[in-house]
Symmetry: C2
Subunit: 197 residues, 2 copies
């Protein structure tokens, strides 16, 4: 349980406030710009306003027959925990392309992408997680650089206590519920920060 | 048509490359960090790596009976064009909260939020647009600071040639198609940059 508790620490992966303007190098002031209602990092020298927005995290639910592919993480946060292949979306790609790229990087797996399955807001860490259903094209997969091992699990084999992120356990539960019902939807959820302690 | 063409200019709203480290103020180098495969702005002084990720844009399709609420923009890009209420998601909020906030700010309107309707990737401007269906709670709406006017439109009154963003026209077309069919889904699309000229 220590493993799981660590993964959910609020503040992990939050970006630090800016001290300097990335455009001109001058110090920034944290204030509400005219016409705005929120604190922003403002450069009093060049006038740049440095907005910060939530980041999309994209991944897949790779399926082979009745089994789902999970990866055991070789990096923090959640080193050693199991997860679906997913990661931060990169500029220049679509959510679908990012989900496939993460699946290739973390599980060395090729998939045929299906529909969007979950959109899960995680406001406490300024992220939006998006998981697509996916069909593995073959069993030629394995651990990428960010994974310790990669393995297919039947529903009754899922290591629920060792799943590294609530967005992943939520997505897996919804997936097995929909599969049991014989009808898959697109689900939206919001995860609020856990109370400390 | 000049209006529309201007709105779709690729590069609008793209963030400039960083020249300085926002943490320590030292100059940054654009290089591929060890274990990575992409160019990042790296600080050689404090070691910070400044990742840039696509930004979520969130909005609603506010409906009153058979009519849809549109806003005419009072700001660039697309000054003077019609749009659904939408804008950049802020940190600390969920996609649903952001969609409601934008609807309140741009159209001074209160809505009951429905399901996610479209997820539209716009890789050319590093954005992911998310629109929720919504029901106006009353007719007490009007132009917020970023709108020139706000108005209800029946389907045959939609000013298609003056819609300011392809994500909005795509969302509206899908909305009317689903409504005609009597069944609403969640749709994912990707818009590629238009070829110049």
């Amino acid at each position: 349980m220590a493993l799981i508790a660590r993964c959910y620490t609020s503040g992990v992966n939050l970006r630090p406030n800016a001290n300097f303007c990335s455009a001109c190098g001058h110090g920034v002031t944290r204030r509400v710009p005219p016409g705005d209602s929120r604190l922003r990092d403002c450069c009093e020298s060049c006038g740049a306003i440095h907005y910060v927005n939530p980041r999309p995290v994209v991944g897949t639910i790779p399926v082979w027959g009745e089994q789902v592919l999970l990866c055991r993480r070789a990096i923090e946060p959640c080193y050693g925990a199991w997860t679906l292949p997913a990661g931060f979306m990169e500029v220049g790609e679509t959510t679908a392309e990012g989900a496939c790229r993460e699946t290739a990087e973390e599980a060395l797996a090729r998939v045929e992408l299906g529909p969007l399955f979950t959109l899960i807001d995680v406001p406490g860490v300024e992220q939006v997680h998006l998981f697509y259903r996916a069909r593995l094209l073959d069993q030629d997969f394995g651990p990428g650089e960010e994974s310790l091992e990669v393995k297919l699990f039947a529903e009754n084999e899922i290591p629920w206590e060792e799943i590294g992120f609530r967005t992943v356990s939520t997505t897996l539960r919804l997936f097995f519920e929909d599969r049991a019902r014989g009808s898959f939807g697109t689900h939206t959820r919001a995860l609020q920060p856990r109370t400390p302690g």
